[in-house]
Subunit: 458 residues, 2 copies
């Protein structure tokens, strides 16, 4: 028992960082026994982490050493970029051999992101029956429930009793490794009810399944987008759910551990998009791949910056007469940008979590106008006074205050309308909102401030 308690401690946190240096040393000295001894103690997720932490050159030697002990789950735990590299290092034959050992959902996860060529080569090397299973999932669209589901589930007719069900589970060899519910299906294999195992375990053997109190049945259509699937799991606190095809027939099951990954991934995507990282960049990608991925976004931003500059250029004469304008104008633009970003962030996030829905659009838009107005007026007063004192010029302070109020109002309104508009025309609001927003706040900020100054001050 003491051994087990030690084991508990060991799996607690991130693996011991010293392991990595130990592995690196052992890899460098080609000390296979030591490497294998370390990795045999670790779960696949940790080995995946180790691979990602190694340099490209070390990855090859490391994989050579562990190949005979390679747990297929490592593949599904790797990030996309590293996975591609590892699959190339392991070779198509080897990968085709180990893929069928994974649950179908994990195997699909590994294979779906591969280049079309690699995907076909590997699929063709997989035995027919396994291949057909994978194809069934792969035929559903990217990011759909069909890609997430496992094809291994337990279904029974409604007239079985608990005893017969338990006997069936004991005798049948071809069952999922792990399952949490069984599904009662009708004659056409449509799910009628979901019964949790604890429910079955706690019922008398003579009870008919159809008479057990069943839980809310939430069947997921295979074409449903995975974000919406995750939303269903959240709404109903599900641990697993049956997946049905277009005919309503049971074809698979999705479990909460996959949903955890979906949510992590979707949230990561929103964060990256909002920060202008548009590709599927991962921190372990190479410098060249990273630069290329970020380039497009920077180019788009360059265009918006140039637009802002041309607005300033309209007023070059005014600036020459009153250089204070050049000093103060970034404040107007930047405060607008920040206020707008706040609104935008909340709007994008609330669209994702489905808290901002057509039903409350109008109310939320009205609220954002009010919020911008409150903060706009407040900061206009602060900044106006500051500008007037700094340059000993009261009219300048007043112009600054008016421009500030205007820009913060426009910023708040754009912060909510831009993401809603993009969402309505089917563009991911996390992706494109912020570039439109900064263009608006820069242009309005510079134009209102310099325009008012030209009109009223010089």
């Amino acid at each position: 028992m003491d051994k087990d308690v030690t084991n508990i401690k060991k799996t607690q946190n991130q693996f011991d960082p010293s392991l990595i240096s130990e592995i690196m040393n052992s890899v460098d000295t080609n000390n296979r026994i030591s490497v294998i001894k370390i990795i045999e103690e670790l779960p696949p997720a940790d080995i995946a982490d180790i691979i990602q932490l190694l340099r490209s050159s070390e990855r090859k030697s490391f994989l050579d050493i562990i190949k005979d002990h390679f747990d297929p789950e490592i593949l599904s735990d790797l990030e996309e970029g590293a996975r591609e590299e590892v699959i190339n290092l392991l070779g198509h034959n080897f990968v085709a051999e180990i893929l069928p050992k994974l649950e179908t959902d994990d195997a699909v996860h590994v294979i779906e992101d591969l280049k079309e060529d690699d995907k076909n080569i590997i699929l063709n090397k997989i035995p027919k029956r396994d291949r057909e299973e994978l194809q069934l999932s792969l035929n559903y669209p990217d990011d759909s429930a069909g890609r997430l589901m496992s094809l291994d589930f337990v279904a029974t007719p409604p007239d079985w009793d608990v005893g017969r069900t338990i006997d069936f589970l004991r005798d049948e060899k071809d069952l999922p490794n792990e399952f949490y519910e069984i599904y009662i299906v009708g004659p056409t294999f449509k799910p009628i009810a979901a019964l949790s195992l604890s429910n079955i375990l706690r019922s008398e053997r003579t009870n008919k399944l159809e008479n057990l109190k069943s839980d809310h049945l939430v069947a997921i259509p295979a074409e449903m987008d995975k974000e919406l699937v995750a939303h269903q799991f959240e709404r109903f606190d599900l641990v697993s759910a049956p997946v049905i095809d277009e005919g309503g027939r049971l074809i698979g099951v999705i479990t909460a551990d996959d949903i955890v990954d979906v949510i992590q991934e979707e949230a990561g995507e929103d964060i990256k998009f909002l920060g202008g990282v548009v590709g599927d960049e991962n921190i372990t990608d190479s410098a060249l791949r990273t630069s290329r991925g970020r380039f497009t976004w920077l180019l788009i931003n360059l265009f918006t910056a140039i637009i802002a500059s041309t607005v300033i250029a309209l007023f070059d004469g005014t600036i020459e007469e009153m250089v204070a304008l050049a000093i103060l104008m970034p404040i107007v633009a930047s405060m607008g940008g920040n206020a707008g970003t706040q609104t935008l962030t909340i709007a994008v996030r609330s669209i994702s979590t489905r808290e901002l829905v057509p039903l409350n659009y109008r109310r939320i838009i009205n609220k954002e106008i009010l919020v911008s107005f409150y903060n706009g007026v407040f900061f206009a007063i602060i900044v106006g006074i500051l500008g007037a004192i700094w340059f000993e010029n009261n009219p300048l302070g007043i112009v600054l205050a008016i421009a500030m109020t205007l820009n913060m109002l426009v910023a708040g309104l754009s912060g909510i309308l831009i993401p809603l508009g993009l969402y309505k025309i089917g563009v991911d609001p996390a992706l494109a909102s912020s570039v439109f927003l900064t263009t608006v706040t820069d242009v309005v900020g510079f134009f209102s401030f310099l325009g008012l100054a030209t009109w009223l001050l010089v």
Copy 2:
């Protein structure tokens, strides 16, 4: 069966928006029967959504009508702001009465965010036994595993056989509603193994539990931060895990449906922090509460904008001589800001997901320098040529290009060093990184461009 298939369709997506108008009308005309008929068909999560979509005035009438049919789970499904309001509308006595009907983890979730006074009043009205259970969780720190765990679990001694275990589960009345594993515990109640129900169901009645092939046991210490708990669930694809106290004794269980909420919440926090929304703002908050919440962040940004302006002010003479500088300077600052934000976003996200760890700090920092250099040089050339042509001034183009390269290098370096530094001193990098970053990119952008121009051009 047809009825059931209809039922499947109904629980698929977001509830029907027309329901809301129907409910609003029924509330306005005080048509109780119609309201109750609608809500009886809906899961608690949907009723919580409805409450959040109603105006404050309607919420009161709606709650009056549904009070007798109020499912306690609605409380745990509400957002914090709305929950506080609903608890006040329902009254302390009512809440104290329904709270014990929730699983302990949900009850803790409802009560932990309340104001200290409200919390104590409600706790004191709850029967002693239930109160002590809640206190056990509440004694653990905010955001710890202890707050997430449910106290209802099934534990057995190692020498029981499968048959005895099943009989126990059938006979014992006081068991959790739903469970996925049972835990084998030693004499001091330390968990020795976790056995999934499917494992037990598939084993012969005469098998001893200790002889069943057990899964990897990942015991979660009750003090562990919930982000780290979520990380364990991700690493090991867990559906549930036992929670242990300081003495290693089993005290509770955490299930994947709670982890789904944790991940959603933590990701939302990162997104909001990065967007400058620092409080726990929710889209359904009032305008006044929202403005106040966003105010501090805007004030901090005002200071950084003023710092940038004072840098510009250092060079007012140069700008007066060459107004092109005022036109071009926002480009340098904005490109630096955007490039830095890209790096920062990836860094913050990777710290959260534990992909950026001390082991790869140096490699990632080197990579970011390289990335900034590549893109810095590239954009310097574009912008330099552009500036030279626009103002027919080659030296100006060169100064612009040098300033651009410099600022993008500094931006990339700051984008990785600022979040790492903040993380090291224990500050949430999502929270404060971006304000430091923009200060750096504005100051360096303006200073390098205007400084070089002063030195070389005028």
